[in-house]
Amino acid sequence: MSSLEALPVQAPGLPTDELVINMGPQHPSTHGVLRLVLTLDGEVIADVDPDIGYLHRGMEKIAENRTYAQYLPYTDRFDYLSSLNSNLAYCLAVERLAGIEVPERAHYLRVILAELNRVASHLIWLATFANDLGATTVFLYGMRERELIVDLFEMALGARLTYAGMRIGGMPYDLPDGFEQATRDAIRQIRPRLDENDRLLTGNQIFQSRTRGVGVLSREDALAYAVSGPTLRGSGVAMDVRRADPYCIYDRLDFDVPSFPQGDCFARHLVRIEEMRQSMCIVEQCLDRMPAGPVRAKLPRAFKPAAGEAYARTESPRGDLSMFVVSDGSASPCRLRVRAPSFANLQALKVMARGGKIGDLVATLGSIDIVLGEIDR
């Protein structure tokens, strides 16, 4: 049961028809409002055509009608599962545009929150991925572990999903008392539970036969489609924006960037599990080294950055999340462009799913980990 042999699709000489099926915008496992038009040859997928746009909200246009400070809560809603990373990308872009120097402590706080959000986002990914494959229990376990992290965010920021947890110039306010202890406790509880989920899922024979050799993305294809994040690192390219183009204080932190060469769903699964562990290490390092000090740079009352443009790259849990801001000297951005990692990653679905079966498509789509909010904006 360990290797996937290609079954002959049809007996030679027997005429068959291709079936066009719509995996519609409402579907239990398309992770949002994504429409996939499948062309099937029996059980084998001949072609996948993603149809996006069902969640388009005109976010980039809205940015032109809001001030820089007002727009920050909107950035939560791009990748709503890791909204702090989107906040961070936006703040970095605007700070680079206006030449604002962020205090040291704010950098540490930002990294702590972003990495905790990475763990929370990967836990949701694990939960939904396992749910798509039938292991409903892991869904509940992932959500249970995520509750520990979301409680931390609620303690520090007041919200549980869309945090608006950063401001231009730093952080809105400092962490509350007891946050550090609560974070260390939460990490201490999550680590063994990750191992437990590993025993339940990663080593499981059935899970391995569903994910090994499934949805293979070769290294060349991954680079050609501008894939990034765990999807890329699962294809053997150890590229991480936190290492390649460090922002905040990532250049001072000690962490590994996991990558595996096989390019299948299992490799991407391993990458994300390992990333969760690395993120928790990063959080502990930051908690140890964080200096005291202010958490926000002083901004003028009417914030009008000089005309110009700036581009900031970050590593969100899904890949390379970058924002490009253009200012014309007024209080609102002239243009905001978001480079969403899931948009590029979804393009690679065609290549990954071709030749597989419908069951493989579900596993592959789950392992790419897309969020429609940032694809459609």
Binding site: M1, S2, R66, A69, Q70, Y71, L72, P73, Y74, T137, Y141, R144, E147, E154, M155, A156, L157, G158, A159, T162, A164, P172, Y173, D174, P176, E196, N197, R199, L200, L201, G203, N204, Q205, I206, Q208
Partner: protein, 172 residues
């Protein structure tokens, strides 16, 4: 033979999975039985808006300056006021909860420490019009009173926030 090894590892992995679920089967459950039990909210929780009063005079601190109305990204706040200068007070302070995204920018902008976000999250109504609420109408007594901007930033000039006890309804 590695095939036998593979088979045995595969079967062993199946049993390991069963062991994990068995362990969790007998662990205590994490469900909180809402509405008979409620979570204790942290002081910084972002619930419905609340207008603070001055502890000595009992007057609203809000002077209807409109800073919150201007900063709100989505136009959820609308204020009607009367009076001038220091005597200016709001006659009507409406928040449209159909629009509000609970970002707390208004609280942070308020120069008079008049706004806070309370622990109120149960204000469902039957019609969308009911979501436009005069802000004095929400904020059940005994609920979390929220934190103003200075309190969030840790500048403890105001009174210490009143931590709420979770509301006990009739137990089941």
């Amino acid at each position: 033979m590695s095939l036998i090894g593979d088979i045995l590892t595969g079967i062993a992995s199946l049993f390991k999975g069963l062991e994990v679920t068995l362990v969790n089967w007998v662990r205590p459950k994490t469900t909180i039985r809402y509405p008979w039990q409620r979570r204790e909210l942290p002081p910084r929780y972002r619930g419905a808006l609340l207008l603070r009063r001055d502890p000595e005079s009992g007057e609203l601190k809000c002077t209807a300056c409109g800073a919150c109305e201007r900063i709100c990204p989505i136009g959820a706040i609308s204020i009607e006021a009367e009076g001038k200068g220091k005597e200016r007070r709001p006659t009507r302070y409406n928040v449209d909860y159909g629009r509000c995204m609970f970002c707390r920018l208004c609280v942070e902008e308020c120069p008079f420490e008049a706004l806070a976000m309370s622990g109120e999250y149960e204000y469902a109504v039957y019609g969308r019009d009911g979501l436009v609420v005069g802000i004095e109408d929400v904020g059940a007594p005994g609920r979390l009173q929220g934190m103003t901007a200075k309190e969030l930033r840790g500048e403890k000039e105001e009174e210490v926030v009143a931590a709420a006890k979770p509301q006990e309804g009739s137990a089941q």
